[in-house]
């Protein structure tokens, strides 16, 4: 547990370099930076002052989450693990996107669209609601179950549109990304 904890911490603090080391969620431009991994840990991108403070915020937020998620640690013996046999569980140890998805799934949510969308009745009063982060999105309508021909069309923001083939109703629901 300790070694892995150290590894996780080192990556967050920028000491352990991974291609495109995650720096901060709020800074979009940071994702365009190429952090070249190297055999020598001293070679890494210099972090500017502004980014450093964002990095610190991100790291402390993560550290808090990690501590909450991990439970008590620090004991060397394996039988400090919550699970009796000494093998960690996903509940104890999953992190990042994997953990997010796991927690959401336990609540019955699917924030990352892993499952196919549930179809609404598709009437004018109850159209299929199609989320989008922009003002239009491609929709593929499988009019009847097991149809091989998928009807593809652009769905635009505004009025409810109908599938050109059978007339099922769709409505775009633009929303900002949560993060």
């Amino acid at each position: 547990m300790k070694k892995r904890e150290e590894g996780v911490q080192k990556i967050r603090e920028g000491e352990l370099i991974v291609p495109g080391s995650w720096v901060s969620t709020e800074d979009k431009s940071s994702r365009n930076e190429l952090i070249l991994p190297s055999l020598f840990p001293e070679v890494h991108l210099l972090v500017s002052g502004e980014r450093a403070s964002r990095l610190l915020r991100g790291v402390s937020a993560l550290a808090a989450q990690a501590l909450r998620a991990r439970g008590p640690h620090g004991a060397v013996a394996t039988h400090s693990m919550a699970s009796g046999g000494g093998v960690p569980t996903d509940e104890e140890q999953a992190t990042g996107l994997e953990r997010e998805i796991m927690i959401a799934a336990e609540k019955g949510l699917d924030p990352y669209n892993m499952l196919p969308p549930k179809a609404a009745s598709g009437t004018k009063e109850d159209p299929n609601l199609v989320p989008s982060i922009t003002n239009k999105r491609i929709v593929g309508c499988i009019c009847e179950e097991d149809n091989c021909t998928v009807i593809w069309f652009w769905l635009h923001k505004g009025e409810t549109q109908r599938c050109p083939s059978r007339g099922t109703h769709y409505k775009l629901v633009p929303h900002q990304l949560a993060h």
Binding site: M1, K3, R4, G7, V8, I11, L16, V18, P19, G20, W22, T25, K28, R31, L34, I35, L36, P37, L39, T78, M81, S83, G84, G85, G86, V87, P88, T89, D90, E92, Q93, A94, T95, G96, L97, E98, R99, E100, I101, Y112, N113, M114, I133, L177, H179
Partner: protein, 261 residues
């Protein structure tokens, strides 16, 4: 945490595919220089570059999956497909050597004496070390299954022991097979018998070494608590590869050692 609305892993730019490609160039040209011009420089450089690439690439995969949590269920599914497809390609690789063996041994030419084993060849006794090798690999298949179940049931000590036993059996096989190579009265240049025997068993031995290395990495990761009881694909991939190596041996034993003697 991320700006994406999907669960896939958008891998960040990495230099390892490029260094891997360079190492492949150095390896191939290095082999040519070694075979024909008695120079091992390029080959050594190639081996070094290749080893470094593999180490760093896979180290990064472990960082991305275990430390950063990028290996969501759908990403894991892709990794599974990848490993399965790779093993299938290896099956075809070995199929070629088995094809060569059966082509030559089912209809032995007259210059061999019209018989198999060819005149003058004394094959190894299949009931001696080769049979021991078979039992060693079969036992390792059992121990790795024990390790997997222990892992899934959360039993750390059992898992560590079983994985260690598997590795030791693999090493034992390698040692036994290496000693057998010294015991043969024939060499690779002894006609088609020697060629098919050593190409097939030689590549198999290489795969045992690769599989054992993969298992050793798994043991190191297990000791560092990387695997959870539900998520341990690296171990599963190693186990699949190990079972594949075992099955190839069984085919080798039955075809070359037993039927072919």
């Amino acid at each position: 945490m991320t700006h994406q609305t999907h669960a896939f892993h958008m891998v960040n730019p990495s230099p390892w595919p490029l260094t891997g490609a360079f190492s492949a160039l150095l390896l191939t040209s290095g082999l040519v220089m070694w075979f024909h011009y008695n120079s091992a420089t390029l080959l050594s450089l190639g081996l070094l570059a290749n080893t470094l690439t593999m180490y760093q690439w896979w180290r990064d995969v472990i960082r991305e999956g275990t430390y950063q949590g990028h290996h969501t269920p759908i990403v894991q599914k892709g990794l599974r497909y990848g490993m399965i497809l790779f093993i299938v390609s290896e099956v075809f690789f070995f199929a070629g050597f088995f094809w060569a063996f059966y082509h030559s041994s089912l209809v032995p030419t007259h210059d061999l004496g019209g018989c198999w084993p060819p005149t003058g060849i004394t094959p190894l006794n299949p009931l001696e070390v080769p049979l021991l090798n078979t039992s060693v690999l079969l036992a390792s298949g059992v121990s790795i299954t024990w390790a997997h179940h222990s892992l899934m049931e959360g039993k750390r000590n059992n898992m560590n022991q079983a994985l260690l036993i598997t590795i030791l059996l693999g090493v034992y096989f390698t040692i036994l097979q290496a000693s057998e190579y010294f015991e043969t009265s024939f060499s690779i240049s002894d006609g088609i018998y020697g060629s098919t025997f050593f190409m097939a068993t030689g590549f198999h031995g290489l795969h045992v070494i690769i599989g054992s290395t993969f298992l050793i990495i798994c043991l190191l990761r297990q000791l560092n608590f990387h695997f959870t009881s539900k998520h341990h694909f690296g171990f599963e991939a190693a186990a699949w590869y190990w079972h594949f190596v075992d099955v190839v041996w069984l085919f080798l034993y039955v075809s070359i050692y037993w039927w072919g003697s």
